[in-house]
Amino acid sequence: MIEPVTRAPQRRHAFPPNWWARIGWLVLAAYVAYALGRLDFSWDRFVTGLDNGARFIGRMLPPRIAQPDSLAKGLIESLEIAILASSMGILLSLPIGLFAARNLMPVWATWPARAIIAAARSFHPVIVAIIFVKAVGFGALAGICALVVASIGFIGKLFAEAIEEISLKQVEAVRATGASFMNVILFGVLPQVFGRFIGFATYQLDSNLRNSTMVGIVGAGGIGGTLFSAFQRFDYDFVAAILLSIIAMIMVGEVLATWVRGVFLEKGKVDEE
C-alpha cells in the first residue's frame, strides 16, 4: 500500500541560515559596543579632533627640511642599521633555523633552538631596543642588536618551516653516497630551500628598514630620534618632511627587494610573504 503524501517534501533552502554564525556576529557586536564604551569616545572629542586634525595638516604643509644635516644623518644611520642587522641576523638565523628543523635534528637540538626563536619573536623590536639601550648605551649599536634579534625570530622560524617541508629523498640520496653531515646540508638541504630563503631574506631586509626608522624613538639610533624630537618640538612641517623621506626610502627598498627576488627566483614564482 502506498502511503498518501500528506505533506509536500520540504524544499531545501540553497543558503540555509547559519545560526552559529549569527550568534557569533551578535557577540561581536556586543563586544564592539562594550569596548567602544571603554575608549571614552564622544562626539565632542571627534569634532575637536577633526578641528585639531585640520590645524595639524595645515601646519604640516608645506613640508620643510629644517635640519638637512640631521635628516641625512638619520636616514643614512637607519639604512646602516638595517643592512648590518639584516646581514648579521640572517647569518645567525641560518644555524638556529637548521637546528630547529624537526625532520633533520634530534629533539635535544630542536628544543633550545625553538625556544630561542620563540623568545626572539615575542617582543616588538622597539621593546627589545629599550633593553639594548640599557645594555650597550644610546646609539646605532642598540638598534642593530634589537633588529638582529627580530631577524632571528622571523627568519629562524620560516627557515625551520621551509626545511621541514623539503623532500627527504634528496637528503637520503646524498647521505647514501657517504657524504659527511656538512655535505648533506650543503648539497641535500640548502639547494631545496634557497629560493624561499631569498624571499625571506629580502622581506626581512625590507622589514628591518621599516623598523630601523622607528627604534630611534627609544634612543637606539636612526631617523626615529630626529622624528620624535621634531614631534615634541611641534615642528610639524619638519615632521612631514621626515615622514615623506622615510616613505620614499622604504619604497625604494621595496622596489629593490622585488628586483632581487626577480633575479634569484624564476618568473612566476616570486611570492611575497
Partner: protein, 270 residues
C-alpha cells in the same frame, strides 16, 4: 671521436645565462659593498660594548625579583586596554579593508583607475609604521586608547586589504559566470559568488593580523597612545626595573596566549 660531435663536446653546460650571472654577481657585489660601507661608517662606540655584559647583569639584578604586587594596580587595566586596542583596531581595519580590497581586485571592479587608487591607499597605509600613525593620531585626538586603536586600524588596512584583494583576484571565475548567467545582480554575485570563496582566506588574514596587532599595540603607549606601553614608559622613566620586568612578563604572556588562541582557532575553523 666523431668529428661532427667535437663542437658539442667542447660546449660546457651552464645553468644561467650570462645576463642572469651578471645580475646575481651585481647583487652579491652590492651586498658586500653595502655591508662593508655600513660597518665602517656606522657610529658605534666600542667602549660601550666592553661593559655590556656588566650592564646586562646589572639590569637583570635590578629586574629581579619581579614586582608581582605591581600587577593589580598598575598593569592589569593597561593590559586589558591593550587587548581592546588590538581587537577593535583589527575590526575597524577589516571593515575599512573590505571595500578597498574589493576595489583593488581587477576581476571585481574592472576599472584600472579604481584599482590603482585603491592600491595607492593600501600602499600608503602600509608604508607608515604603526608608531608613526600613533604619533599622528595622538596629535589629533590627544593621548589615549582612541589614538592607539585608530593607529592599529589604519596600519592594518593596507595589510588586510592587500591580501584580501589578492585572494579575490585568485577566486574561481566559473562560479561568478554561473551567477551572472542567472541574472544575479552585483550584490548577489559578491555575497554568493566571491564571498564563499574568499571567506577562509579573509578570516585567516584577520587572525594573522590580530596576532601581529597584539604585539604592536604593546608599544604604542611609548608615544602616548594608550595600553600597556604607557605602563612600560612610566616604569622606564622612573628606572623601576622590577616593574619593567613585570610589564615585560605580562606582555610576553599575552603574546604567547594570543598565539595559542590563533593556532587553535585556525585548526578548528580552517
Amino acid at each position: 671521436m666523431n668529428p661532427a660531435l667535437a663542437h658539442v663536446e667542447s660546449r660546457t653546460w651552464r645553468r644561467f645565462t650570462p645576463r642572469q650571472r651578471l645580475a646575481r654577481f651585481s647583487v652579491y657585489l652590492t651586498l658586500v659593498v653595502a655591508i662593508v660601507l655600513s660597518a665602517r661608517t656606522v657610529e658605534v662606540i666600542p667602549e660601550f660594548l666592553y661593559d655590556a655584559p656588566e650592564q646586562m647583569r646589572d639590569l637583570l639584578e635590578r629586574m629581579w625579583p619581579i614586582s608581582w604586587s605591581h600587577y593589580p594596580k598598575g598593569v592589569h587595566d593597561a593590559l586589558v586596554e591593550t587587548l581592546h586596542i588590538a581587537t577593535l583596531g583589527t575590526l575597524f581595519a577589516l571593515v575599512m579593508a573590505l571595500p578597498v580590497g574589493l576595489m583593488a581586485a581587477n576581476n571585481v571592479v574592472p576599472n584600472r583607475l579604481v584599482n590603482y587608487l585603491a592600491k595607492l591607499v593600501l600602499v600608503s597605509s602600509r608604508s607608515v609604521n604603526s608608531l608613526v600613525w600613533a604619533l599622528l593620531f595622538v596629535a589629533v585626538f590627544g593621548p589615549g586608547a582612541l589614538a592607539g586603536t585608530l593607529a592599529i586600524a589604519f596600519r592594518s588596512v593596507g595589510f588586510v586589504g592587500k591580501l584580501f584583494g589578492e585572494a579575490l583576484e585568485e577566486s574561481n571565475r566559473g562560479t561568478i559566470e554561473a551567477l551572472e548567467a542567472t541574472g544575479a545582480p552585483w550584490s548577489s554575485r559578491l555575497a554568493w559568488g566571491y564571498w564563499p570563496q574568499v571567506k577562509p582566506a579573509f578570516w585567516s588574514i584577520a587572525l594573522f593580523r590580530w596576532d601581529i596587532n597584539v604585539r604592536e599595540s604593546a608599544v604604542l603607549g611609548l608615544v602616548g597612545a594608550g595600553g600597556i606601553g604607557m605602563a612600560l614608559d612610566t616604569a622606564l622613566n622612573l628606572f623601576q626595573w622590577d616593574r619593567v620586568a613585570m610589564v615585560l612578563f605580562s606582555i610576553f604572556s599575552v603574546v604567547v596566549v594570543a598565539e595559542i588562541i590563533v593556532t587553535q582557532i585556525r585548526r578548528k575553523i580552517l
